[in-house]
């Protein structure tokens, strides 16, 4: 076992780009589910909105990077939230779940469709939209930074990502400690009670959906910038469930919980991934039991298992307390 590689990968996982993307998505989901009780199973689509909003604006429509930024982070996610929220936020929570998962599926079909290749790049996706971003980088493209973990361009992405993360955390904190956040907490626990006190539950839920969606879009856009491509396979439904497990694990309804959850989850998954892969490569794990390609599937099995066990037995996660868990005894 090459422990050095395992540790390096895990550390990179804990603080690097991957973690930032999922952290932002998880923070968005925290607003949705942790604070408001919205069952958004389509956070991946919000992330895609950010990625494709930027890339399509630049590549397909020929706009400049800053317009793309605006479209991707603000306009697209807001429209998406409206489309999904207007029909469902007045109904039972299950309906938002159904519509958001339908939206993920719809995205998958539309983004991969060869018929729309001119617009979306279909399965290959779009590239070449992030030059402006990298031109702004103060880091030397050839140098390695931060204990030699990140090369120049990567370091720039990580830097911007962490700044974004901190801003999002600050906004979340401000929101939650404000009267607005208080109304949201009330709605999550009992909509009728909030309504009897004059609060428009539907509108608050919509605002929460939009804000969480914007956070997710930020994560998606950063991912596209970091990988310099916007591809459908980066935004599959299961990406959302990563964020969910991170959320529940870290304890929803607290702001730092999702970050901690994302970190722990990513560490577990990175570790398992690398360990299993090495085990397969040097024969410790026999071929009939697991091949190289199947290693990636184990991670999803763990996600599924994680959701089952957490939801059934420890909904408050590692850090949460019983009063503030997302999945409450209703």
């Amino acid at each position: 076992m090459d422990w050095g590689a395992i540790i390096e990968n895990t550390t990179r996982g804990l603080i690097g780009e991957q973690f930032i993307y999922f952290g932002l998505a998880a923070l968005g989901l925290n607003i949705h589910f942790g604070y408001t009780g919205l069952l958004n199973l389509g956070q991946a689509v919000f992330m895609a909105a950010g990625a494709y909003g930027l890339s399509m604006s630049v590549v397909t429509l020929g706009l400049n990077f800053w317009w793309g930024l605006l479209l991707g982070v603000i306009v697209f996610p807001l429209i998406l939230a409206a489309i999904m929220g207007v029909p469902t936020l007045r109904l039972r929570a299950d309906y938002l779940a159904i519509v958001t998962i339908a939206a993920s599926e719809m995205f998958r079909i539309v983004a991969r469709s060869p018929s729309l290749d001119r617009w979306t790049g279909s399965s290959d996706g779009l590239t070449g939209f992030a030059t402006t971003f990298y031109d702004l980088s103060p880091y030397d493209k050839q140098e390695r930074y931060f204990f030699d973990l990140f090369i120049g361009n990567q370091m720039w992405v990580v830097t911007v990502g962490w700044i974004a993360l901190v801003i999002v955390i600050l906004i979340s904190l401000l929101l939650m400690k404000s009267p607005w956040g208080r109304v949201l907490k009330a709605i999550r626990e009992d909509e009728d009670a909030a309504r009897s006190l004059g609060k428009n539950a539907y509108w608050y839920k919509m605002q929460a959906l939009m804000i969480g969606g914007v956070f997710g879009a930020m994560g998606g856009m950063l991912r596209a910038i970091g990988t310099q491509s916007a591809q459908p396979q980066n935004f599959i439904t299961d990406v959302t469930f990563f964020a969910w497990v991170a959320l529940i694990l870290g304890g929803a309804a607290k702001v730092l919980g999702p970050i901690a959850g994302a970190a722990v989850l990513y560490a577990i998954l990175s570790f398992t991934d690398v360990a299993l892969r090495q085990g397969v490569d040097n024969g410790h794990i026999p071929e009939w039991l697991m091949t190289g390609t199947q290693v990636g599937q184990v991670r999803f099995m763990l996600i599924g298992l994680g959701l089952i066990l957490l939801a059934a037995f420890r909904p408050q996660g590692i850090f949460g307390n019983k009063e503030e868990m997302a999945l409450d005894d209703r």
Partner: protein, 286 residues
Amino acid sequence: MTAESIPVAPALAGVPWEPGASKPDVILTASGVRRTFGGLTAVDVDHLEVQRGVITALIGPNGAGKTTFFNLLTNFDKPDTGSRNFEGRDLDGVAAHRVANLGMVRTFQLTKALSKMTVIENMLLGATGQAGEKLSRSLFPPMWRGQERANTERADELLARFKLDHMREEFAGTLSGGQRKLLEMARALMVEPTMVMLDEPMAGVNPALKQSLLDHVKGLRDDGMTVLFVEHDMDMVQEISDWVVVMAEGRIIAEGPPASIGQNQAVVDAYLGSHHDSALDLEADL
């Protein structure tokens, strides 16, 4: 008791003791209100006027449709036909949450004290017109700190009045059932309503707390608010209500001052079936 010796609140003097009777100063009316659930008619009320500034009780045997009617009056449900009017405003088409902004607040039979929030948070939730509740302002604390402080002062006063001030920082979930009822009432007052609708306020309250609750309800009227409550507890009805409305099988069968209700034959029939001749001693049995 004779008709002459039955006491009537001054505001309601001269009002005939009949269903649908017209009141001198009306705050809430319901006309031609019908609500059916798959073939079953739950509510069928021709006319009801609620007098401002008094305590009105809505009673009736089980299945009379009181709760359904209550939900219709508080706009938590929409009737199939008919109109409801609050302070001159037609409630049709008004969203459930807007009613509170118009001045009507309601409580729930199964108390909805938000147990995952603290007592003071519950109270602050009740305040209306909070700038900090708007998304745009919420991100800038200076824009709402002042209001928050003023609301907190008001909340603390109310908590003191309801003797809940020592539980200020506790999660509402840790309060006893009776304390939660008080909290819900105190929270409702934060709305500064003109009308308070109480849904079985005495349900599940231990006898020791009853008197305290009754006094608080009377206090609401004394402060100028109108109160309407649904109840099974006849003690409460007799003790504090100024006017009683009796429902049975979805219709209003009687109205009048509390002392007159026990002698009303229609009411007796509704509660006990139509085989009893003697007047009902409502204080004892029900």
